[in-house]
Symmetry: none
Subunit: 216 residues, 4 copies
Amino acid sequence: MVAAMQSRTSPTPPARTGGRPRSATADAAILEATRQGLVELGWSKLTLGAVATRAGVAKTTLYRRWAGKSELVVDAVAELFDELELPDRGSLAADVEGVVLQFAALLGRPETKTALMAVVAESTTDGPLRERIRGSIVDRQKRLVLAGRKRAQDRGELPVEPDPSAAARTADLIFDVIAGAVVHRALVSAEPVDEEWARRFTLLLLGGLAAAAAQP
Amino acid sequence: MVAAMQSRTSPTPPARTGGRPRSATADAAILEATRQGLVELGWSKLTLGAVATRAGVAKTTLYRRWAGKSELVVDAVAELFDELELPDRGSLAADVEGVVLQFAALLGRPETKTALMAVVAESTTDGPLRERIRGSIVDRQKRLVLAGRKRAQDRGELPVEPDPSAAARTADLIFDVIAGAVVHRALVSAEPVDEEWARRFTLLLLGGLAAAAAQP
Amino acid sequence: MVAAMQSRTSPTPPARTGGRPRSATADAAILEATRQGLVELGWSKLTLGAVATRAGVAKTTLYRRWAGKSELVVDAVAELFDELELPDRGSLAADVEGVVLQFAALLGRPETKTALMAVVAESTTDGPLRERIRGSIVDRQKRLVLAGRKRAQDRGELPVEPDPSAAARTADLIFDVIAGAVVHRALVSAEPVDEEWARRFTLLLLGGLAAAAAQP
Amino acid sequence: MVAAMQSRTSPTPPARTGGRPRSATADAAILEATRQGLVELGWSKLTLGAVATRAGVAKTTLYRRWAGKSELVVDAVAELFDELELPDRGSLAADVEGVVLQFAALLGRPETKTALMAVVAESTTDGPLRERIRGSIVDRQKRLVLAGRKRAQDRGELPVEPDPSAAARTADLIFDVIAGAVVHRALVSAEPVDEEWARRFTLLLLGGLAAAAAQP
DNA sequence: CGCTAATCGAGACGGTACGTCGGGTCTTAGG
DNA sequence: CCTAAGACCCGACGTACCGTCTCGATTAGCG
């Protein structure tokens, strides 16, 4: 899919007045250092001091931009999620299998694996963080579901749902099922998300969708 | 629901010899204090010192029994998960909806919500912890899937799968889909898991199962 | 008292070339802000950032003129010491008592009290600072001793010492005794320097001087 | 002089109850490390973290015992001041010269030089610290004045003052003059306190005392 | 019934990281 | 060239928890 059209990485709007402007390269170095730190240390041993050192940046520079570890990590992994695409594999089933495998590959990366559940755990007691996660990571991936449906409708594999709110509810349900099942398989059950599993899961999902469509 | 067949709450077998035995009440007080602390502070602000104080116990006593915060919290919330049951609601669909709502209610409790994701996050970089979670929480709930299928087969709603390994694979898939979707809906999307959602989800799941059964 | 013959308040000669000239009012504002800061915060809590803010000046401006906190404070309090005078009270004893009380009053001001000892402490490990203190504060007050002796000699209360180096040594001794005793009484013993103490001290000093003069 | 009969180095009474007792060796190591740090870094560059490291002790151990840098340094240098003695040199004048030179030698040590004025400067805005300095350092040295007077009276060099309050006032004055003059000469004027200066100063002091005694 | 040995509370210990503050320097845009 | 503004790197601050340790004081059960 195409790159995000709107940068999400302006952590705090800097109140445009006089003074030395914030270093743009520092931002990139910090986010990259954060991902490296996640890989090498894991979430719980990742310290902001270590990130700063690795990025060649002072701790204060870091705190000027982000409120804490969670916010920083959300921005750092969000960049990875934006790389997800929906390549055209010829059929709806193949497309779903493709996106499932792609998502699983992303969750297999150590920085994503260790970070995702941790920030979600934090967000259960931190409303603003929850909104940040939704805005930066979760909601941005719904585009994959919408694009997949659109393409299937163009192919004639799926009927066009006339009620837009029902369409949205269905898309949300599909998203929760796909993302939830893959995450649970990969991180909680800790079993491999391979082609065989993707095929079986897709069969279940599309079969279920057809059954649900037949019955309002 | 059946009683747990093996107590999981003997944290570290104490090498039975002479000397003063460990206080049994201390264990209960610590686990209860842990749950209270999770509610009031959340995972990341929960400290073992605070648990000890709240339980009226010395830190030493706590470290004698558990290796760290993760292990303690796993044991504390595992007790809650054992309360899940599968009441007979007359049909497979009703049973699934019931267990979905029950699971969602459990995830709505603050101590469960903040603890579950956190320990899973920790477990991504800690193998023994992952095993403890699976043994104490995850695998114990698969009994609900197995019991539900058995009951549906007894009712004649589902055919009996002759191949036991295929049956196990299907049970695992169902478990990942149910648990994953509910967790994602409740904690990540942060939308309510109400009766309407449970009905729509169950429709999708059972429809998918039927389609998958029709096609090897 | 006579005006200082040489301004000490051009902190760093600015290498006179073209360009915008330095603001003269800024200097005064900074020194005044420094004294206010000393009163309200004391030496150790006085920060250059706070001085700059209070003076309505950028930190850059401040660092362009002074090398650090010590140098700035020396200049700020030196202005106060220049206010000391030696009024003619009719006799040597009365003159000494007067200068003692005047000096004690100056040491009673919070900005002087906290700054003087602090910069002297710094100067024990900073040679250039020690010279700055001597040039700006200490040596400038020896004029009071010299003026007092001159006046006493004019009155015939003291003989004229023919050896100039011996005269200088005696003046130095007197200066150390007066300044040292008053500072010690006021800041270390933290007892009041009142008229009664001044009278007793002067009696001791002048008696000692007479005895010393009688014996080479 | 004899060793102090009562330890001043119990920084905070530890509230005798259960628990691990405080390490006695840690105290000594910290005070010694503080003095070393003063010598090598000076007051303003001395950090509590460096003291802790050098003493092989955790920072928390240090903060458990002392409220801050000033308090710690007062205790560290107080031990040095307790080493001052009043050796019997045969006459009052020789005794005074001896104690002046001994005091000057103490002030010549780098740890004392850099610390003394600094803590006094701090004490100008910190009442409890001022009391601590008086109790631990200043008042303890008045014993030298009292011992010197007693010895001179035993020798018949000084008359016995019948009024005890007048005797105390005189002792205080002498103390302020001696300590003040020596400190001012050594630290402010930064001139050597050698035998010649000590002789001249003692001549002035004793001459002044005699004159003051003659005139109530 | 008194030993013995592991437990208990309390709290100090050496560490590591925290988030903040201040010091000086540098980089803007504007006079 | 100066100025105000403010970001930059750096180092220290004082605090909080960690997990370990050292105490004196309890408890059992075994001898």
